[in-house]
Amino acid sequence: MLGFRSLSRPPLANGLLLLAILLVILPHLPHLPIWLALAGLLAIGWRLLHDTGRVPLPGRLVRTGLVVLAILALLATYRTLVGREAGSALLLLMLTLKLFEMRSWRDVTVVVFLGFFVMVTAFLFSQSLLMGIYTLGVVTLLVASMISFQLPAQPFARQPLLRDLRLGSRLLLQALPVALILFLLFPRIPGPLWGLPEDATTGRTGLSDEMAPGRISRLADSNAVAFRVQFDGPVPAPEQRYWRGPILWQYNDNKWQTRPHQIRLLQQFDLRFQGQPVDYQVTLEPHNRQWLFALDMPATLPDNAQVNSEYQLLARRRIDEAYRYPMRSYPDYQLDPQVLAERARYLSLPANTSPRSRELVAELAAKTDSASELVEAVLDYFADQPFYYTREPPLLFDDPVDEFVFETRRGYCEHYASAFTVMMRQAEIPARVVTGYYGGEMNPLADYMIVRQSNAHAWSEVWLEGRGWVRIDPTSVIPPSRVELDADLASRQPEVRSQLDAQRSWLQKSLRQAGFVWDALDNRWQQWVIGYNRSQQNALLKALGLDDINWRTLIMLLFIGIGVALLVIAAVLFRPTPRSAPGNRAARLYRRFLRKLARRGWQKAPGETPARFCRRVAYQQPGVADAVTHITRHYLQLRYAPLNGDQYRRHLKSLRRAVRRFSL
């Protein structure tokens, strides 16, 4: 009945929408196949050219062809149409193709709603603070373009685009408090409701459950945060910051692997602690694995966590959202000092593994009396021989250990840990590779430590009679002079950090400082917004004095909250007293004009009409006759003439200017 169905082409509105769609697509570009990224940008460009009247849209046949082709290409790229990557790509594709058949108001609605969908799929890849702010901007644009399509008929604003943006952002600002109440009080149902696809969350981790030194020639640099730590007491010394992660003990086919986890009880380990404990909370970024990280050596288990036979902490399910857990560790510990169960598994090596290193080990063993001396001897060997630390080592082929130890001698932690562990096993010392993170830097602006993916590290553990599992980090014996410098290394090699700091320019330093500010904000964001879950909701309600409320009360509370918020907004929107009522602006300006005259003794008599008063002044004071007439004419027009919006605005502007300039 009120047919908005036919869309007279409003190019401005289209332009706004296209800009919004472009911004919706942008965050997806890094993980899209290149053809799809290009297709998306191309479609936007094409539509833009069409709207400015230069090219026609593709016909129905071409469009159908494009859809079929694109779906085939998607299937070829992902082999599926569901899951995080393929699903978001499919939605994006639909959005892109819909641009070609956007003819009616209904199509526009579909495009805008698809835009919201594509926006939300971007959150599966990133939920950073930046993304949150970006989202607000994009939502404003999408809402503004919805408004634009509502107002194609001769808008009485001179800059309709600005007006729509203003209206859109006003809507957004008014909606924010309501959204906040919903966010805080909406009952949080723990997901998933159905099975998550394999690629549900970003597995952004520098670690994996296998390690094959020499197969990767370049260590990926990622400054992404792995987890953040808040210490209750003093921060442990840099050399104690070993964050224990997956433990690899099976060496086969030149690579280290773990086996399916064998869950143990904490009591099954012979753990002895000395000295002061370190208490802290870890906020783990989602990595889609079960791994939990803790300082060597954890003494407690968080809720819902288990420990496996290698004393690695595991969550009961994959960490697919930020997870915060309290931990206690003792830097001074003994793990299974007396008896080693399953000794054989920590000694097994495939036959004929690294014969040359076996010779070397035998040679060194002959010179030493005990296992611990042999450990020292092997470490000394790494320290004395020209071994280099580099993040871009040469590839290794047949026997990575021999090739590394005797030929290339260049590598990073994996090479050293792997070679060292193999050599230990060759000397009949039980050994295994521990992966995790090493280091972490304190955010100087807030009281927490950041551990990044670039802190990923691998080291060894050897079992020594009477001492239990002892951590040995063969990489750490490489002297700084043989470390090929890399800015990122700072946190890995604490001793080179001061050198690096000295080399930094003020610009780098301030950038670094700004980075810390941002990270502090992002940490808050992760903790309170992204990590907001049921338990935090309960804590919040508790802080409000509402203990133990059930979901029914919660929903009631939610409705009351929204109701109150909407009432407040409605009260403001519908307030009866007009702030700048019809003609009031004109009246105010006219009163100002009268005051100016009154100061010079020209009083408008109570019964005198503006027109008569004008004639009187003009007659007796010919010098200002023009100005007075001008002002009076505009005022009377504004008050009494039937004006349309544009005329009204023009008169008001003239009146305002004339009154401001008026003087006797």
């Binding site: 009945m1 009120l2 047919g3 908005f4 108001w105 209904r106 609605t109 709603f113 919201f116 969908f117 939300v120 959150f123 599966l124 939920q127 993304m131 949150g132 939502v139 809402v143 919805m146 408004i147 399509f149 509502q150 107002l151 008929a153 001769q154 009485f156 209206l167 809507l171 957004l172 909606a175 924010l176 408090p177 309501v178 959204a179 919903l182 966010f183 997901g191 409701l193 159905w194 998550l196 549900a200 697919d320 959202e321 917004v529 992204i530 879950n533 929204i562 909407l566 907004i569 409605a570 929107l573 519908f574 007009p578 700048s580 009522a581 019809p582 039937p642 349309n644 919006g645 605005r649």
Partner: protein
């Protein structure tokens, strides 16, 4: 007190048809403005539900937030849609009579006494394309609505609807307006019926030669007081002295449009034929009278006469 009892308030008939006709002006208020989601609004709700399910499934906090933000924008948008109509005032200006079978134009004066501009107001009679207009604060405007004129005689203006889906198109607020104004519908002019020949010169015998202003009858010498318009300037230029053009008596052909001439036709057809004759006669500048069983209009011409005749036809019977 403008109270509305609960029963009346929740009467579905009001929802679909509006109130009983009421005198102008109408002020839109909370009692007569309704609001419901549009099809897009429902679609939007479904979209949000799907996004929310996804957010729950993936425990995605930003997903939750976006859902809630969009939902809140829709809710706030609802208030804006509602406000876009509230406090508006309407009245119907004078409606020109229409012919049956044709369209009537109903001028509606819309006034915005509020402090906010009103965007994209759509006004329409049922099943008619809407007229879209906008109103800055404190202004008024007149929009002309059209609808089929209906039957001969007085017709009520009937219900028209003022609606708006501004700003997001997710909700539509509307108010049914039923003014108590009426408009006059003349009979539909019959087609292809020339003026009656038989009666054409019936009255011409009575034609006089008195002084009038229609037909040029000759020249005479200028007398003081003669209109300057009637001075024969060309003669003056030819130095023939001041002459005044003299006009003969008003049109000698007087036409009677007579109901009785149309014996054998049904009354509506007769009226229809008479209506056509009135229009024709007026257009040809004839002097015409109308004879109806209940009324006789003496011959005359001019818009007013025409209107009187048509009105008599419209209200006949």
């Amino acid at each position: 007190m403008r109270t509305t009892s609960l029963i009346r308030r929740f009467n579905l008939a009001r929802f679909f048809q509006g109130d009983a006709p009421s005198p102008a002006p109408w002020r839109l208020n909370r009692r007569n403005v309704y609001i419901l989601p549009t099809r897009q609004g429902i679609f939007f709700g479904v979209t949000l539900a799907v996004i929310l399910l996804g957010a729950i499934n993936y425990s995605n906090s930003l997903g939750y937030f976006l859902t809630f933000l969009l939902g809140s924008i829709a809710l706030v948008g609802l208030l804006h849609t509602y406000r876009n109509l509230l406090q508006l005032q309407l009245r119907v200006a004078t409606i020109n009579p229409a012919f049956a079978g044709g369209e009537v134009s109903v001028p509606v004066v819309l006034e915005n006494p509020g402090p906010t501009p009103r965007y994209r107001l759509a006004i329409a009679f049922a099943d008619q394309p809407p007229v879209i207009c906008e109103l800055p604060p404190g202004r008024h405007t007149t929009v002309t609505l059209h609808k089929p004129a209906g039957m001969r005689g007085w017709q009520p203006v009937g219900r028209f609807t003022l609606g708006s889906t501004f700003p997001l198109g997710l909700f539509r607020a509307w108010s049914h307006v039923v003014p108590d104004e009426q408009y006059l519908v003349y009979p539909a002019p019959a087609t292809g019926a020339g003026l009656p020949q038989a009666s054409r010169y019936m009255a011409s015998l009575l034609g006089d030669q008195g002084v009038g202003s229609d037909d040029f009858a000759g020249l005479r010498g200028y007398r003081g007081g003669d209109s300057l318009k009637h001075i024969h300037w060309k003669a003056l230029a030819r130095e023939q002295g001041l002459l005044t053009k003299q006009f003969g008596g008003d049109r000698s052909e007087r036409l009677w449009l007579d109901w009785r001439m149309l014996a054998g036709m049904d009354p509506e057809s007769r009226l229809s034929r008479l209506c056509r004759w009135v229009l024709e006669a007026e257009q040809q500048g004839l002097e015409y009278g109308l004879w109806l069983p209940d009324q006789i209009l003496e011959p005359g011409h001019g818009p007013q006469h025409r209107q009187q005749c048509l009105r008599a036809l419209a209200l006949f019977g």
